[in-house]
């Protein structure tokens, strides 16, 4: 019964949407059927766009992970480095993507590289802070244990700090995953010229030609993407750390 609750909510929401949309011109609020029709007739375009954005988000997430996890490990090594570089990491977080996107086009050309970059910029910071926090979260008694048996710094990092950090990492990734999709799409608003098709480009184009059902289809596709990625994180999380957090902490 509990499982059915989100489904019930979805059905109610869908019905409400339909009821409201039926009274309005499709250009303002299309009905679910109109959106589905639009997505079906243009399925090639929507499909290609979803795939492109999906790959860009993944690549952005991957790129951000490399820099963020590497950066956190570096910070763990030296407080000086952390103090020196942390403000710049924060700066990256505050950069308005939509403003730098045209610059990225000049440097990288149109297409996926821009989307990957904006996606990476947007999810970098959450992963960095999560990993940073996680690496520092090792149980002090366990740290003492390692020290007692003469573990090297690297052994401590590999065998203690990294596994201790995983719960924090997963929390960070749950947030980062949705951001990676948004980041890619925002980058695509400016950085994608339609070949290959991308969700950001689709949103802009359909808005410009007042094809609102298509806009909605693109939005739903992007939400679906984010949900799939989120679900994957949850699945991996359950498989890895879920088992060891069973009884006592």
């Amino acid at each position: 019964m509990k499982r059915a609750l989100p489904l019930l909510v979805a059905i109610v929401a869908l019905a409400a949407w339909w009821a409201v949309a039926a009274r309005m011109p499709p250009v303002l609020l299309p009905t679910p059927l109109e959106v589905a029709e639009s997505a079906w007739t243009q399925r090639d375009r929507v499909g290609e766009a979803t795939w492109t954005t999906f790959l860009a988000s993944l690549a952005g997430l991957g790129t951000a992970s490399v820099f963020a996890i590497g950066g956190a490990a570096l910070f763990q090594r030296s407080r000086w480095i952390e103090r020196a570089l942390y403000p710049y990491a924060l700066l990256l977080q505050t950069v308005p993507i939509i403003a730098i996107a045209p610059l990225l086009v000049v440097w990288l050309g149109y297409g996926t590289p821009v989307a990957i970059t904006t996606s990476a910029i947007v999810c970098f910071f959450p992963i960095l802070t999560a990993t940073n926090q996680g690496l520092r979260a090792a149980d002090p008694a366990q740290v003492e244990l390692f020290r007692l048996y003469g573990a090297s710094r690297f052994q401590e990092l590999r065998l203690l700090r990294w596994p201790s950090a995983l719960p924090f990492l997963f929390t960070g990734y749950r947030a980062a995953v949705g951001l990676s999709v948004i980041g890619a799409i925002v980058g695509e608003f400016v950085g994608s010229n339609g070949s290959p098709a991308s969700l950001g480009n689709l949103v802009i184009r359909s808005a410009g030609s007042a094809d609102t059902p298509l806009t909605f289809a693109a939005i739903i596709a992007s939400t679906g993407l984010a949900l799939i990625l989120f679900g994957t994180v949850r699945l991996v999380e359950a498989r890895t750390i879920g088992r060891w957090q069973g009884g006592s902490e």
Binding site: D139, A141, Q142, E144, L145, F146, R147, L148, Y149, G150, A151, Q155, L159, L160, P163, L166, I241, R243, W244, Q245, G246, G247, S248, E249
Partner: protein
């Protein structure tokens, strides 16, 4: 010589003194209990003995034997199986027999379980197995039974006495009854700065139960000194 504190002083980074010129010699091969009120510094003394902290004055000497530490909490790594946990000291460079250690604490058939799948008492025994895997000459224990319920505590204590015979043990506890039941020598500490209030040798035969004759007097004597 198990552990010797010679004119040992220790100050926290902010200057608070924990120990000033403390002298204490822990005999080899015997179980010594350190008893005292919370906050008097007995856990810190244990860490000085382990080499996890450096004294700010004087010295702490230890025999060259491998040394093991048993914490109040089992301190098992939750992502490792029991066997992998007990094997940790070996993995970090010491030599030891993991299977023998597991058998000693009667946990061999649970070897592939995760800590979350074990009871509190089992986790504590696993912690003990890990401490014993390197056949240490010196075992330092920081209130190891405090988190267990009374029944489990007695079971684990019996295992403990069984397996620790012959090693030098320094046991910190706030429970006077426990000290009297387990130890050959009880040192009552006060402070900070930590100082010796009373130093008793106990020669009663084991196993001991709290309500045995003679033990009651000892307990009263010790409690008086606290």
């Amino acid at each position: 010589m198990g552990v010797r504190f010679e004119s040992t002083s220790f100050h926290w980074p902010d200057g608070t003194p924990l120990a000033e010129e403390l002298n204490l010699e822990v005999q080899t091969g015997a179980i010594t209990a350190l008893v005292g009120p919370s906050g008097c510094g007995k856990s810190t003394l244990l860490r000085l003995a382990a080499g996890l902290l450096e004294p700010t004055g004087g010295q702490v000497t230890r025999s060259a034997d491998p040394c093991a530490f048993v914490f109040q909490a089992p301190t098992l790594l939750p992502w490792r199986s029991l066997r992998e946990n007990v094997a940790l000291p070996v993995e970090l460079g010491a030599s030891g027999d993991v299977d023998a250690a597991l058998a000693d604490v009667e946990l061999a058939e649970h070897a592939s379980k995760l800590p979350s799948q074990l009871s509190g008492g089992q986790q504590m025994r696993a912690s003990l197995a890990r401490a014993l895997v390197t056949s240490p000459g010196l075992v330092l224990m920081d209130e190891p039974f405090a988190a267990l319920d009374a029944i489990t505590r007695r079971r684990v204590r019996d295992t403990f006495l069984d397996k620790l015979g012959g090693r030098t043990v320094l046991l910190v506890t706030h429970d006077v009854d426990e000290a009297v039941v387990l130890a050959d020598r009880v040192v009552v500490l006060g402070g900070p700065p930590v100082g010796i209030r009373l130093d008793l040798h106990i020669e009663l035969p084991r196993p001991r139960r709290v309500h045995d004759a003679g033990l009651g007097d000892l307990v009263r004597q010790l409690e008086g000194a606290l």
